[in-house]
Each structure stands twice: as structure tokens, then as C-alpha cells.
């Protein structure tokens, strides 16, 4: 089998650096390739770490003063005078003293058997020679007054002269302090496009951005489209209310408090999440519609890919072509085919949410058809053990259990066997 793997492209994938078509191919591949998914998860974790560890920071205010002092210490008027000519007497004297002191100290403490240059070679930096481009090389040495620490540590480099600058042609007030005046950090936000009517963000009519913490609300006549960072978009139907919970490279999260949203997401699994009052919908690379009624109950319909519904440690995998209900008071329903018969749907709803018990289950099994394996597989772990054999038989009649998946093992809910059978169900479902 000539399966193409993408392990070398995954950092670019995680950082959304690839063309859309390639992002799509890799997202689809990750759904089915455990090897690439493992590498992807490792790289994503590395990226999350880097985001935690690396923060841009302003230089301390004192730094500019040091630089100004360095500029002031040489009063000569030439802008780019030759370095040698740039040394004032005091600078020469100070540098010479430092050089003598540092050299003496170095000679005292250096390892006796090693010449200094031997020690130098312990740094096999890939940038060992002109680090990036010769004209850009900076040699931190004694060229800055106020940099004595560095100078002292560097006995082998004779102090270079400080760069010399012409005094400004226009007088500069002594109190000029360019305290870094960067704009405050922006609150992460998503672009919003009004599709109809006048959607609102907070108490105002929707602007172009929905920031973290803000609520977007549509009335009966308005609709909006929200760009989910750079991984897709979500259309907000009339009479809906959504809040942007968070957006960062490792997670983009909305809360759908009421109404309907339709999501189209092109991203690695588990990057886009929607909270609802009755369940959490976790995107596994897909398109879907999610509704929440005024009581907080939900309905999910997936058209492409998969969504995982989660609540209280339980999970339902909802593949394309299926629907699942959620209830605020009763949790997750069982996914079923969008083409299932009304009798099948009703019985399943009674079983999931209305204590339908054995009679409801019997109807579900009686009404099951070729498009029922996704439901039946989920029911294996939802029914009481006394009924599990019947569900096993119904599922086995549609999708044969793979080798090494035994009736006894499934009745005990052996995880490996259930996972193996799910793979077969998936294959059948998408065939």
C-alpha cells in the first residue's frame, strides 16, 4: 500500500504555513494515520511549550540611558569616524587597564595543559563562521562604556573603540527619553462579517471583530459569519448567542449559549471546540451544524468528517451523515444516521432520554438497518450487560467483528476490541 505520510510537514501544518489544499490533505490523513498523528501531537506539544516559554518583552528603560551615555562619552563631531580615531584618552586608559587585568586573571585560572584556543573549539555552532552575513556581524566587546562586565570576561578581544556619532544638528532636550511606547497588547479577536440584519456584540451593533470574552448575538432577522482564527469559519444563524471563550494556537473555543451555528473547520483534530449547556463539541476536522434550544438541549448534525461530543467523562463520536442529541439534564444521546426511520429515531430518543429501557431498545434493534452500525456500536457500552448480547448480534449482522474481536471480549467492553470494531464500522460507514 503506497500510503503517503507527512511527518516532515507537520510543524508547517501546525503553524498553518501550508497551502489550503495541503492543510486539508494532511488534516484528512491525520484522521486515519496513527503514526503521523503521534508525531503531530508531539510537535503540537512542542509548539505549545514554545508559546509558554517565549514571550516578547520591552527592554528596560535604563537601557536607552546606557546607550545615550555611550553616545555622549565621545563628544567628537564625526558621525562615522574611524574606530581608532574614536578613542578618547579615558576610554583608552580604561580599556587598557581592563585588558591587563582580564588577561592576568585568565592566565592565572586557565587550565594549565590547554592553550586558550583549544578551549574555544568546544562550540560547534552551526553559525561558527560569519554567523549570518558578514556585514551584519556584531562583536560584543569593549565598544560600549558601561559594558565592563562583558569586557572583563573577554581578555582575548582587545577593546574596540566605541562608535562615534555626530551630535544632533538640532538641539535635543536632555529629558528626551524614548520610553518604549508600544501599543497595549491586543486582545485576541476574530473577524466578524454581517450576513443579514444587525447582529450585536455586547450592547452595540457588531463591529468587525469579536474579542475574547465578548458575546455575539443575532435576532430573528440577523445572521453573521465569524472567522475562526485562520482555521475556518462559523455562521451564526438568527436568534443565536455565542461567546468567544479563547483563541490561541493550541485551542479555539466558542460557547453556544442558544441558537444555531454551522462550522466549517480545516484544522488538526481537537483545535476547535464549542461549549454548549449540555455537552462539549470537539472538532475532529469537519463541517457540522449545532443547535441549542432555549432549555439548553442540543442537536448536532455532521456533514463532513467527525465531531466528538463530550460530557462528564463520556464521549460520542459523531461521523458525517449522523445526528446526535444532547440534553442538559441527561447528557449525550446516541448518534444515528440522518436517514434513520422515524420509528428508529423515536425509540432511540426514548431509550436515551426518557427511560425507555428494554422496550425502546427492542424497537431500536428491530428497526435497525444498514445505516445503523454507528448507533449499534455506541449502544454496546450504553446498554445493560443483559442486553449487550442482542446489540452485539445486531451489529455483527451488519459489520462483521474483525479477527480477534470476540463476543466474550465485547460483552466485557474490552477497549481494544471495541476500538478495532469501530475501525471496521468506520470503514463500512464511509465506504
Amino acid at each position: 500500500m503506497n500510503e503517503k505520510h507527512y511527518t516532515e510537514r507537520l510543524s508547517a501544518f501546525v503553524n498553518h504555513e501550508l497551502p489550503k489544499t495541503e492543510q486539508q490533505s494532511i488534516a484528512e490523513h491525520l484522521l486515519v494515520c496513527a503514526g503521523c498523528r503521534a508525531v503531530h501531537d508531539e510537535i503540537k506539544y512542542g509548539a505549545a511549550l514554545a508559546m509558554i516559554g517565549l514571550k516578547p518583552e520591552d527592554a528596560p528603560d535604563a537601557l536607552w540611558h546606557k546607550i545615550e551615555k555611550a553616545l555622549d562619552d565621545d563628544p567628537r563631531p564625526s558621525v562615522f569616524a574611524s574606530p581608532a580615531a574614536g578613542l578618547g584618552f579615558r576610554a583608552v586608559a580604561a580599556a587598557a587597564l581592563l585588558l591587563v587585568a582580564a588577561t592576568a586573571a585568565y592566565l592565572v585560572i586557565r587550565p594549565a595543559a590547554h592553550a586558550p584556543e583549544t578551549a574555544v573549539r568546544e562550540d560547534p555552532s552551526p553559525f561558527a563562521q560569519p554567523a549570518i552575513s558578514p556585514d551584519a556581524t556584531v562583536t560584543p566587546s569593549a565598544n560600549a562604556p558601561g559594558n565592563a562586565r562583558t569586557n572583563a570576561a573577554n581578555p582575548s578581544s582587545p577593546p574596540n573603540p566605541p562608535p562615534v556619532f555626530k551630535e544632533s544638528n538640532t538641539p535635543v532636550a536632555p529629558q528626551v527619553r524614548p520610553a518604549p511606547a508600544l501599543p497595549p497588547p491586543l486582545t485576541p479577536a476574530w473577524n466578524v462579517e454581517t450576513l443579514a440584519g444587525l447582529p450585536k456584540i455586547g450592547n452595540s451593533f457588531a463591529g468587525a471583530r469579536l474579542a475574547v470574552g465578548e458575546v455575539l448575538e443575532t435576532d430573528a432577522n440577523s445572521r453573521a459569519r465569524v472567522e475562526v482564527a485562520d482555521i475556518g469559519d462559523v455562521e451564526i444563524a438568527p436568534n443565536s448567542r455565542v461567546r468567544l471563550v479563547e483563541t490561541k494556537a493550541t485551542a479555539h473555543r466558542l460557547a453556544l449559549e442558544k441558537g444555531t451555528l454551522s462550522a466549517k473547520i480545516l484544522a488538526p483534530p481537537r483545535l476547535f471546540i464549542v461549549d454548549t449547556p449540555s455537552a462539549v463539541a470537539v472538532d475532529l476536522g469537519c463541517e457540522y451544524t449545532l443547535e441549542v434550544d432555549p432549555r439548553g438541549n442540543g442537536r448536532l448534525q455532521v456533514t463532513i468528517g467527525y465531531v466528538a461530543l463530550e460530557r462528564g467523562g463520556r464521549e460520542a463520536i459523531v461521523p458525517a451523515g449522523t445526528i446526535a442529541f444532547t440534553r442538559k439534564d441527561a447528557g449525550l444521546g446516541t448518534p444515528f444516521s440522518e436517514n434513520a426511520s422515524p420509528a428508529f429515531r423515536d425509540a432511540l430518543y426514548r431509550f436515551d432520554f426518557e427511560n425507555g429501557g428494554a422496550p425502546a431498545l427492542a424497537t431500536v434493534l428491530d428497526e435497525s438497518a444498514d445505516d445503523s452500525p454507528v448507533t449499534l456500536w455506541h449502544l454496546l457500552s450504553r446498554v445493560e450487560i443483559k442486553d449487550r448480547g442482542k446489540v452485539f448480534d445486531a451489529l455483527a449482522s451488519r459489520v462483521a467483528p474483525p479477527p480477534r474481536v470476540t463476543r466474550a471480549g465485547v460483552l466485557k467492553l474490552d477497549k481494544k476490541m471495541l476500538a478495532a470494531w469501530w475501525k471496521a464500522v468506520e470503514k463500512f460507514w464511509f465506504a
Binding site: 508531539e42 511549550l49 509558554i52 546606557k66 553616545l71 560584543p140 570576561a153 544632533s168
Partner: protein, 185 residues
């Protein structure tokens, strides 16, 4: 006025040696230079300040010879990275002298404060322990927010090389810090 026009005027002012132009240039780029140096040295503020000071003095000295076909920001990143690499080389070479003088490694109060954020500090140190060829793309990506193309320009290599080094760098980091996985989740 566009960004490019502002930059062009600023460069012209700097070339004429006007101090307030240097101040404006510093204001525009101090965060870049300091952040790269700070993250390169695993949060060592003393080293980051020293290197930043040297970089700006060098920038002011060389601004007259800066060729405008390159982007000023790219040029400044290159200056900073080269200064960091030179400084690291120097510190490795003369590590015993550093200890002898007892100044360079002295932690500032700010360093101590940083270290209280144990998780972030541990991650930062792990990044600083990577070889520069893996460390630099990571810090240009995640501290500076550059695209792969911009990183390739700064490091003077191909986008493929950036991608491959980031791939390996991420994996190395994940391997070194796998014990933090639960905390990150």
C-alpha cells in the same frame, strides 16, 4: 504616511546623525532586539541588556552603510542574532572567568521573579539549551511571530530548512519536557 515612508525618513535622519532619530529607531526596535536576546539566553536579563546595548550601538554605527534593498527589520534581527551567537561563544570560552569576576551570572531581582514562574522558566531554559540552529527558528516563530518565509530571510536559508529545523526543534523540546505534559494540558 506608509510604514515604508516613515522608515525611509527615519533612516535618512539617522544617517545624518540626529540623536532624536536614533531614539525613534530605538523605540521602534528595542522590543525585537531585547526579546530575541532575552529568549536566546534563557531569560538572562543581564546578558540580554548587554547584547542589546551592543547591537544598538552597532546599528547606529553601521546605519550609513545599510543598503535599503534589505528590510531594516531583517537586518536588525541578523545583527541581534549574530551578537547573541558571538556572546554565547565568548561565554562558553571563558566560563571560568565569568565565575571569577562573579558578575555576569548574578541574577537580578527580575530574574528571580521570572524563575518563580517555574513552568515558563523551565521551558525557557530548555529552549535555551537547544543548539542555535534549532533555537533560533523557534524563538523567531514564537517570540517574534515571524512567518516561515520571514524566518528564512533572517537566517538566510530556505523555507524548507526552516520547516525541517522547526520540526526537529519541536520534537526535541517535547522530548525534553515530556514530564510537563499534564500541566500544559
Amino acid at each position: 504616511m506608509t510604514e515604508k515612508e516613515i522608515e525611509r525618513d527615519l533612516l535618512a535622519d539617522c544617517r545624518s546623525g540626529r540623536r532624536e532619530a536614533f531614539a525613534r529607531l530605538y523605540e521602534r526596535h528595542q522590543r525585537r532586539v531585547f526579546s530575541v536576546a532575552l529568549n536566546f539566553f534563557g531569560g538572562n536579563r543581564t546578558l540580554a541588556e548587554d547584547v542589546s546595548q551592543l547591537v544598538f550601538l552597532k546599528i547606529f554605527e553601521k546605519i550609513g552603510s545599510f543598503r535599503a534593498e534589505a528590510e531594516l527589520t531583517t537586518w536588525i534581527y541578523r545583527m541581534t542574532i549574530n551578537a547573541c551567537i558571538d556572546e554565547q561563544r565568548r561565554h562558553r570560552r571563558f566560563f571560568s572567568l565569568e565565575n571569577f569576576f562573579g558578575v555576569i551570572r548574578t541574577k537580578t531581582a527580575a530574574d528571580e521573579k521570572l524563575e518563580r514562574h517555574a513552568l515558563s522558566g523551565e521551558v525557557r531554559k530548555a529552549i535555551a539549551a537547544l543548539k542555535p540552529k534549532f533555537r533560533l527558528p523557534i524563538l523567531l516563530k514564537y517570540s517574534e511571530g515571524l512567518s516561515y518565509e520571514e524566518i528564512a530571510r533572517v537566517l538566510d536559508c530556505s523555507i524548507g530548512t526552516v520547516s525541517s529545523r522547526l520540526n526537529r526543534g519541536h520534537k526535541m523540546l517535547a522530548g525534553k519536557l515530556k514530564h510537563l505534559k499534564k500541566e500544559i494540558k
